[in-house]
């Protein structure tokens, strides 16, 4: 199973085991990672699972598109490597993936 690391704004690290096929948001919520609120449960409706994908993982994880892109255009603290974790599907090759979180969600 791939392990992924969420790093809070204050630097706290949370490494959790994810299941290929589940969303990165589900992996965070299942382990109570603080800072991933995920209010809409993965419907791409709220932008409360905003993360920054580390540089060396961007090619594999890919860029935001469609609704996700539009949400991110108006979310807080958006950067070029912003993604919504509910729209990232965990794959076996993502073992070691690291994402940072913004100071606040949405």
């Amino acid at each position: 199973m791939p392990h992924v690391t969420f790093i809070e704004y204050n630097g706290s690290r949370h490494t959790v085991e994810a299941t290929p096929g589940q969303s990165l948001m589900r992996a965070a919520v299942a382990h109570s990672v603080p800072g991933i609120d995920a209010e809409c449960g993965g419907a791409c409706a709220c932008a409360t699972c905003h993360v920054y994908v580390a540089d060396n993982w961007q090619a594999l994880v890919g860029e935001a598109q469609g609704n996700e892109r539009e949400m991110l255009d108006f979310a807080n603290e958006v950067r070029r490597n912003s993604r919504l974790a509910c729209q990232i599907t965990v794959a076996a090759e993502m073992d070691g993936l690291t994402v940072h979180m913004p100071q606040s969600q949405s």
Partner: protein
Amino acid sequence: MHPSHEHVVIIGAGHAGGALAGYLRQYGFGGAITLLGAEATPPYQRPPLSKAWLKDSADADSLLLKPPHWYPDNGIALRLECSVEQIDAGAKKLVLACGEAIPYTQLVFATGAAARRLAIAGAELQGVVCLRDLTDAAQIKAQLRGARRLAIIGGGYIGLEVAATARHFGADVVVLERESRLLSRSASAPVAARLRGLHAAQGVAFRLDADITAIEGAAGRVTGLRLADGSREACDMVLVGIGARPNGALAQALGISAEAGIVVDAEGRTSLADVWAIGDVTRRPLAHFPGLFRLESVPSALEQARRVACVLAGRELPAHELPWFWSDQYATKLQIAGMTGLSDSTVLRGDPLGQRFTVFHLRAGVLCAAECVNNPGEFLAAKKAIAAQVRPDANRLADAAVPLAQALAGAPRDTLVPAL
């Protein structure tokens, strides 16, 4: 960390109750937590029950807020399939239906709401269903596959979402609504018209101003609906989606005001010391709007859960949040920020017949709500502008050529309007 002699007992293991248990531990609450649920399933997401889950694209495990082992791992006593018989607020203990007594130091009602039933003949026939929990949804999912014609009583969000799913399975669908238009209390006319057109294009039939007098059946199974004008709608399945009533009886028995929902303050306190309430069962104040509101909404329940958890864990309270709602029907996404019911004027931005548009709502010139159809970016922008109580220029707001960020950049209300 909070003194560990505390014992928080949460009645109701739905989204609100489950989230509260999680936030308490996340915020460092060190006391005991007991979470009492009537259903057989650990806390789960309800919104997908009428959307993705019903269409089979989400399995039961994916609905769970936390995996089952998370509760014992975090010292939370999750008790499923149990109901509370009575509460002794003086002695601070409650008694379960099985006779077991549980003492508490803090009690939280997260009892939710129950589907409103139709008080007409035939409501008990086989094939007549409502949608509130996983058991209901599983039953609907199983029946939809064989259904030929589904009649949906109530043109609200649950009814319309199920209509979309039923069409996905190929069943004929008729929606019967008592009012003269859909979503009369929860959406503006352009949004309601858009959703109606969307469903009509998918073959859903509508009967508005429909006064249903009886559900008819044969051999114990539903066969049709009888209307006051003498007409009949044939169907082999009926979904009753006419709203919900708060489950406030236990609280009322304690003398807490709970007739149209348990009345709470901004931190979830009821009128009784050490007794709290969160979620669909509550009537709550909102930071940006006058009055008390009973919101059936996950974001509202989560905000209340966070605030109660903050108080009980001795943590600083976060800023107040703005209510918001969403609905997915076919490929159309509706997101609503703020409270549409309070508006005195609306501003349409975009073409209501086109792919996307937004209806902004103003109250005395101040932005109070926005309904966004396939417009997720405008939704987030509006959410912030409503919270900031801006007074936008209506002409600029209506002009899609003016970038929204500029159109919403009216001055905050406080800088323009002197205090009364």
